[in-house]
């Protein structure tokens, strides 16, 4: 599903964020990318979304070589990738329903599809009763669940989560991890960048550890360190 071949990313200011990284992720896998701040976790996420170009090496996502993807095809790549971030990235002037529906609307899905799928996915993340609330009326955990719903409403092949529990307390984090686990069980490949040790240790999934942009460990059913 995801394949990185000797990927190196050097930013314009000379910082080497990712250094000769080679990783293969199978369809349906659940992978943690761990490491201290600045180890290159977020850069990997940005590379997979083609928000940044690789400096050297090749990346394949869902069978597509990102380097050969023309700019007008990038949106179609991203429709196969759901994304969840630490800061939720919700629109404060839109209701929960509209925040999720927006993701379908801007890729041209018809209204009847939106009206059917949005309540469905919001029920699934346990927010069926908060459908008409605004984001600032929700707790952090609830907001992150809205953002999960938005990421999954288009049934992506891959879910990228960049520190999804970074702003949440441990109990709420467990809720979010349950959701991610559920999404993974229905066949979605999940890649989660985190430095939340407790969660990684509890889940016992494949762990890829980065240090200064290099893979220092790639272990199935691993722990944080």
């Amino acid at each position: 599903m995801i394949s990185l071949q000797h990927v190196t990313k050097v930013y314009k200011n000379g910082v080497v964020a990712v250094d000769d990284m080679t990783v293969d992720v199978e369809k349906g896998e659940f992978v943690f990318i761990v490491g201290p701040s600045g180890s290159g976790k977020s850069t990997v996420v940005r590379l997979l979304l083609k928000e940044e170009e690789v400096t050297k090496g090749q990346i394949f996502v869902a069978g597509k070589n990102l380097a050969k993807l023309t700019p007008w095809k990038v949106p179609y790549l991203r429709r196969n990738i759901g994304t969840v971030f630490q800061d939720f990235k919700l629109l404060p002037d839109k209701t929960v329903f509209d925040n999720v529906g927006f993701a379908l609307e801007v890729i041209g899905k018809p209204k009847h599809v939106i009206d059917q799928r949005v309540p469905e996915i919001l029920d699934l993340v346990g927010l069926g009763d908060k459908i008409n609330n605004f984001p600032d009326e929700l707790s952090g955990g609830e907001q992150q669940r809205v953002s999960m719903a938005r990421a999954c409403v288009n049934r992506p092949l891959v879910l990228l989560a960049d520190e999804p529990t970074g702003n949440l307390d441990p109990t709420t984090s467990v809720d979010i991890m349950r959701l991610l686990d559920r999404v993974n069980r229905i066949g979605t490949t999940v890649v989660m960048a985190t430095h939340d040790q407790a969660i990684v240790d509890a889940m016992r999934r494949r762990v890829i550890e980065l240090d200064a942009g290099r893979v220092v460990r790639d272990q199935s059913r691993g722990v944080y360190s």
Binding site: E51, P71, W72, V74, P75, K89, F102, A103, I107, N154
Partner: protein, 292 residues
């Protein structure tokens, strides 16, 4: 399709509401620019009407004395055609002169009804390769029978052109400068709109909205602003025409004036100019946001 139209409509109206003041500046500048542009076009039209009216678009008019003898016409035509400076000679009968007169003053019925066509002379209408060579033509025609009067119209045309050119070019120049400022203001509203919604746009890109899906509402917003300005300019032009030209229909006769049809004829030009300016401005305004 209907869904997409509804989406764009909603985005555009909310965009216009959000930066109302800047949008107003863009609209009023477009209005002034297009008004001046339309004015320049109408002035050109008026000048060409006046030229047609006074000269019939020829440099030399040879008015023939009544009654006209066909042999004289033939002889004079041959003589003129024999000159190297003459480009072309056309014979205009009294009836043709009358028809041209009626067409020219179609908007002034009183004039058309009161003029006896018999009073209009038949003429030979001569075009020259070089209008400066009028003297040669005059010399050849000197003393020929059947000629009432030879008129060198190029001198009059030169003066008319000189006066109107200054005016026309001036107005065009000012309208051009105004169009550029209108484009800059529209580009600015587009850029402000993009900036105000950069978070939303970031999310749109993240969930896989195509670039055009994101850009088109902003582009339409610019076009709508510019079309509102164009609409106001068109209405104002009609107003000017009614206020200043219509009274002339009755008072200054023997001179054709621009009609409503002429004003309608400049409408598409104003609309096209407005849309082109808006599209160029929009694309310039969002240039920095073109990358994925």
């Amino acid at each position: 399709m209907a869904r997409r139209v509804e989406y764009y409509f909603r985005e555009v109206t909310s965009g216009l509401r959000r930066n109302g003041l800047v949008a107003f500046a863009a609209i009023s500048t477009t209005f002034i620019a297009l008004l001046l542009f339309g004015l320049a076009l109408l002035i050109s039209r008026q000048v060409s009407l006046m030229i047609t009216a006074t000269t019939g678009n020829v440099e030399v008019a040879v008015y023939l004395s009544d009654p006209v003898n066909p042999d004289t016409v033939q002889a004079l035509t041959d003589k003129l055609n024999g000159l190297s400076v003459v480009a072309n000679v056309q014979y205009e009968t009294k009836e043709e002169a009358c028809a041209r007169f009626k067409e020219m003053f179609a908007s002034q019925t009183a004039l058309v009804q009161n003029v006896d066509c018999n009073a209009l002379p038949a003429s030979l209408r001569v075009k020259l390769h070089d209008p400066q060579q009028y003297a040669q033509v005059a010399a050849v025609l000197e003393g020929q029978p059947g000629i009432d009067r030879v008129v060198d119209q190029s001198r009059f045309l030169d003066r008319l052109f000189a006066v109107t050119r200054v005016f026309r070019v001036g107005v065009l120049l000012v309208s051009f400068v105004m169009l550029i400022s209108a484009a800059i203001l529209i580009a600015n509203t587009v850029r402000m709109g993009l900036f105000a919604r950069r978070k939303e746009i970031g999310i749109m890109k993240l969930v896989g909205a195509t670039n055009w899906r994101i850009r088109i509402p902003f582009l339409i917003e610019g076009i709508v602003e510019s079309l509102i300005g164009a609409m106001a300019a068109i209405l104002f032009l009609f107003g000017l025409k009614v206020a200043f030209i219509n009274p002339l229909y009755g008072t200054i006769q023997f001179m054709p004036w621009v009609t409503n049809t002429d004003v309608v004829a400049v409408v598409p030009w104003l609309v096209v100019a407005g849309v082109v300016v808006a599209i160029v401005a929009g694309l310039v305004g969002m240039r920095r946001f073109l990358d994925v």
